[in-house]
């Protein structure tokens, strides 16, 4: 150990220290037991292995689901109706349900979130109003989804009497993804150079004209990123939907119909031990959907930053 330490410490140092006198550099090193070079190498190895482990976990999660799930996926699985509580047949109704609930959520969260972001980024200076709004948005972002589920159940399902429905689920998820949309959209708007606004205003545009014609078009990909991330969150959510959209395993025909999303279906298949192969298949569809969403979001973000040069 000591020999190795000495060898490693000694060999590269002559080439690296052209200083004429071996002036003892006051070392900011936190380590007192090993030479800085050893610590450096040790740290490097440790850090890289930790990173490798993290990546490995991710790959394992995806590979595990894919290897067992992709085999179950077929046209009849995607487009077919479930039989025997989902033990056989397809998952088409849950795909449609997911789509409906997500559309409802986005329809709620986009105008509100975009409006809020425009207000925060364009219409108000940092004062107490924006402070409160920003604090509220941050707080909302930190609330566990199960609380949204409880709230959605007490408010939309019970008090407003919407029942377990696409609408209740969509409104609840809309509230849940609102902070994501606000934050991403505000960041996108703030990233648009101030000069663009000034140019527009100097050419006779009102504040709203400038936002509509210059700021929003430039920020659009960034805003879309937020919406896509919101969609991804809505698709993968279980706790908030199960109490609000319900679990009916059929294609909803109206906003007031109960609906079972893919995530809830997957949860039910798993927890009721109905069918492992069906569960893996559903999980694979879910994970592929989320992967695609992330790729889309990333591509949009990339385009946005390129737009801004």
């Amino acid at each position: 150990m000591t020999a190795y330490t000495a060898a490693v410490a000694a060999s590269p140092s002559p080439s690296r220290s052209p200083a004429p006198a071996p002036a003892p550099t006051p070392s900011p090193s936190p380590s007192k037991f090993a030479s800085p070079r050893i610590t450096q190498q040790f740290a490097q190895i440790a850090l890289w292995s930790a990173t490798a482990l993290t990546i490995a976990i991710l790959l394992f999660v995806i590979a595990f689901v894919m290897r067992r799930g992709l085999g179950s996926i077929s046209w009849s699985f995607l487009a077919g109706s479930p039989r025997k509580s989902g033990a056989e047949g397809g998952i088409f109704p849950t795909i449609v349900s997911t789509l409906y609930v997500t559309i409802a959520a986005v329809a709620v969260a986009t105008p509100l979130g975009l409006g809020a972001a425009i207000y925060l980024a364009e219409y108000t200076s940092e004062g107490w109003v924006s402070g409160i709004i920003r604090r509220g948005t941050e707080s909302l972002a930190g609330i566990p989804s199960i609380i949204f589920g409880l709230f959605g159940f007490a408010f939309f399902v019970t008090t407003l009497g919407l029942g377990w429905s696409v609408l209740s689920g969509g409104l609840t998820l809309g509230a849940m993804i609102l902070p994501t949309v606000i934050r991403t959209a505000e960041e996108a708007l703030r990233a648009v150079p101030r000069e663009y606004r000034h140019v527009a205003r100097s050419l006779g545009a009102t504040r709203w004209d400038a936002i509509r014609t210059v700021v929003l078009p430039v920020a659009a990909p960034g805003i879309m990123t937020g919406i896509v991330l919101g969609i991804a969150r809505a698709v993968s959510e279980t706790a908030a939907v199960i109490f609000t959209a319900g679990v009916a395993l059929r294609i909803p025909t109206s906003l007031f119909d109960s609906a079972r999303t893919m995530s809830v279906h997957f949860y039910t298949l798993t927890m009721e031990g109905i069918s492992d192969s069906q569960a893996y298949g559903t999980a694979a569809v879910l994970v592929v959907t989320i992967l695609l969403m992330n790729v889309v979001a990333y591509t949009l973000m990339h385009r946005f930053t390129r737009n801004l040069r």
Binding site: S27, G115, T159, I182, S263, T270, A283
Partner: protein
């Protein structure tokens, strides 16, 4: 002209939209408290929060085992996830070549997008049997340990993402200064970069805690859900979130109220964690942009960002 919204009307509408988050927060508060507060008042807050027994059929609602459960599981998740997450953040922000970073960072963020039920499922299929069959662990497999491991994986992206941002926000001159004094890369990271990024990393960790405390489905699937104070990591535990989701199905009357009351406790914990994270983040903003005072009013902002391309500096400019 008709399609153009008058500026002031636009401002009103936008303020309305901006208030929506506050309105939702208020609605959540009102409805959770309206449903849950009666049972807390009825049993007394202390016996509700510090009570050891949860037996709804006998009208006993003590939340302490669940609070302990949430705490143990979260602590376990941090113990496993924190070193991994921060190491990963340091590597990606400081050591990895830019090409690798542009690939790896979104890849890790992707982990956050995978549905929690999928994590729970993998926990049930892989982790629980592993713990049960492994002589080193034993027990039923459904345990605080299983939940901690799953949660550690789930909070990784939060910790990594925010820590990377915090580390990248440390001014480059800090590193150059340290390296110029002869420090190695690791000495620079440990002695200069990490301390400077500390509050940002702390914010990431707190948000990670928030995610762990709030996670429901993955935990319910692997934690075993026994209502008992955990004595070891191999004991089954029930978290606050699991308590709600598990019993919502059939609960009625006081039982349902007690579940909403569980929600109140969870809600308050989440808000508190969020507030802490917010403070840490704000502190970072102040410390890392030292030269600029915080931008609070329109005037000071204008003064700094100014109309003049070369901001008027006053007399000292001529001195």
């Amino acid at each position: 002209m008709s399609k153009r919204l008058p500026d002031r009307v636009a401002a009103r509408i936008l303020l309305g939209a901006a208030s929506s988050a506050i309105a939702i927060l208020a609605l959540i508060t009102v409805f959770i408290f309206r449903e849950g507060l009666p049972v807390i008042i009825d049993r007394g807050p202390l016996s509700f929060i510090a009570g050891m027994r949860w037996a709804p059929s006998q009208g006993e609602y003590g939340l302490l085992p669940m609070i302990a459960g949430s705490a143990v599981v979260t602590a376990g998740a941090l113990l496993l996830g924190l070193p991994l997450g921060i190491a990963c953040a340091i590597t990606l922000a400081e050591m990895a070549p830019p090409r690798a970073r542009t690939v790896l960072k979104p890849t890790i963020e992707l982990l956050a997008g995978i549905p929690s039920v999928v994590y729970g499922f993998i926990g049930m299929e892989v982790l629980v049997p592993f713990i049960r069959e492994n002589p080193a662990f034993g027990g039923a497999g459904y345990s605080a340990l299983a939940a901690s491991v799953i949660l550690a994986v789930m909070v990784l992206p939060t910790i990594v993402g925010i820590s990377i941002d915090a580390i990248e926000a440390v001014p480059h001159s800090f590193r150059e200064g340290s390296r110029a004094l002869g420090a190695t890369q690791w000495q620079t990271i440990a002695g200069v970069v990490l301390p400077a990024a500390r509050s940002g990393i702390v914010a990431g960790v707190i948000l990670g805690i928030g995610r762990a405390v709030g996670e429901t489905m993955a935990v319910i699937m692997v934690a075993g859900n026994s209502v008992r104070m955990p004595h070891s990591l191999l004991d089954p535990v029930r978290t606050l979130t699991a308590n709600i989701a598990l019993e919502m199905g059939y609960a009625s009357g006081a039982h349902a109220q007690a579940l909403f009351a569980t929600g109140i406790v969870l809600f308050i914990i989440s808000l508190a964690l969020n507030e802490l994270a917010g403070r840490a983040r704000r502190r970072r903003r102040v410390t890392q942009t030292v030269p600029e005072p915080t931008l609070t009013t329109a005037e000071t902002r204008a003064e700094l960002l100014g109309g003049d391309n070369a901001p008027p500096l006053g007399r000292e400019h001529f001195a």
